[in-house]
């Protein structure tokens, strides 16, 4: 799944700064195909969960307002270098996406 998700987690003081970039078309279902004049079917991530060593730290519901190739950044208090952060996302068609990274010390 490396293709769909790129992650980085770096310690900043006592919080881990997590950045995630996903590759997804995030189609709203409201756009028309210029050639066929038919609506392009909706296809977007609607749920995203982040875990720290298996424990959920973020659970979000997304909608069509999120841009194509979404980016999410958040910070986790109490994380330390070596901790595992995992992301799982599901889109409205049921396709699952996931990624994992290890927290690294600040540069």
């Amino acid at each position: 799944m490396a293709d769909e998700m790129k992650m980085r987690a770096t310690m900043q003081g006592d919080v881990a700064d997590v950045k995630v970039r996903m590759t997804h078309i995030m189609e709203t279902g409201l756009r028309k195909d210029a050639k066929t004049d038919k609506f392009i079917p909706a296809h977007f991530i609607d749920q995203i969960v982040a875990t720290l060593n298996g424990k959920t730290v973020l659970d979000a519901q997304w909608g069509v307002a999120i841009a194509k190739n979404p980016f999410i950044g958040f910070r986790i208090k109490g994380a330390k270098p070596g901790d595992k952060i995992a992301i799982s996302a599901v889109d409205n068609l049921g396709t699952k996406y996931g990624g994992e990274t290890t927290v690294v010390a600040a540069k």
């Binding site: 790129k6 980085r8 970039r21 210029a34 841009a67 980016f71």
Partner: protein, 419 residues
Amino acid sequence: MKSKSSLVVFALGISIAAPIAAVEPAPEAKSNTIPLELEKPAYATPWVRYKGWPEEKWNEYSTLSTLKPSLPANPMKIEGAIVGDPKKGEKLAFDRTRGGSCVACHVMGKPTPSMPGNVGPDLSAYATWGRSDEYTFNYIYDHRSTNPNTVMAPWGTHKLFSADEIKDIVAFLKTQNSPAEFKDKLENPATRPVPVETRDNLDPFLNEAMAAMEKGAELFVKDGASKKSCASCHADPEQKFKTWAATMPRNEPRLGKVMGVEEFVTRHARATTGEEYPLQSSQNLSLSIYLRYLANGQPINVDTNSQAHKEAIKRGTELLNRKLGQLNMSCVDCHTAERGGSKWIRGQWLGEFRGQLDHFPTWRTSRSEIWDIGKRFQWCNVSIRANELQPGAPEYGDLELALSALNNGLKISVPGIRH
């Protein structure tokens, strides 16, 4: 330069001595043996302007490839005061659909809309300057009869405003009699801070074009229709292409024109891996970014000494000075400090030639698109209401080489990130 050319001879010498090197031509070798497809256009045909760009055509006016005569109009004789409607004039002066509104280049008085530019003089107290109506009218209608190199568009001759409309604008200018007031230093082009790009353009979380770079690296090792990949012949690309992109564009004698990285990718892939990566396709941009990324940190180092390049740079320099489009503007009008360069056009900073190339292809945050230098040239054309040329046009090659020569020594940092 002397030592460089002897190096080239050395590299060629090796390839003659060792047959194995024939499948691995040194990228530095200026040889006619590099496989290139030479017949077809490098872009997807037929060429149509990009979606979302203005659809207007300006066929009556000069482009980079076609000169259309445009003679300055003789100054019109006007006796006494012009009668016009200052209210209508104000509306016209601020109308952005007719080539950008006066405010793009001039600070006006109190009613000035947000973010005026300062390419032209501050007109906020124009009424106190003591200019005759005749002078003002002709200055707007077509200033070229007085100053052939003026940056001011020939608003009347090039049909952006009718004579009656210009009379209304004159009437409006006659109401401008007090300095403009700015609510903060951002509004005033004289005090607005010059934009500085400080984002780390190689951070994949900041620059979406880094994903294209990774895609390019994948394409590089992917087998094409011929069951070969770029890597089949070019092992160790990190070393082999350390300086190559910094030496592009180059004259290609078989095509009789200058060709940059992008078109090279198209034609070389057709002749080797059998893949079709036309100009402006996502694959072409990805590979072009990847190949330039490998040369990151290297100083731009295009050849300016060979006869072919001297001629191309001469042609390119002429194009930099050519007045184009309905607005009758040349590259130097906006991008040299003597004219509009290092000034504001509305809220946008006009950079000078040096520093405009090292970051292309670049991620444009305002458009969520990757633009190579060719697309940037096309947009410049359309912005001054001149028909753009098709991607890979020989004129763009000459321009790219002339611009590269002006940027020689600056370090490549691709993909860039810009507004």
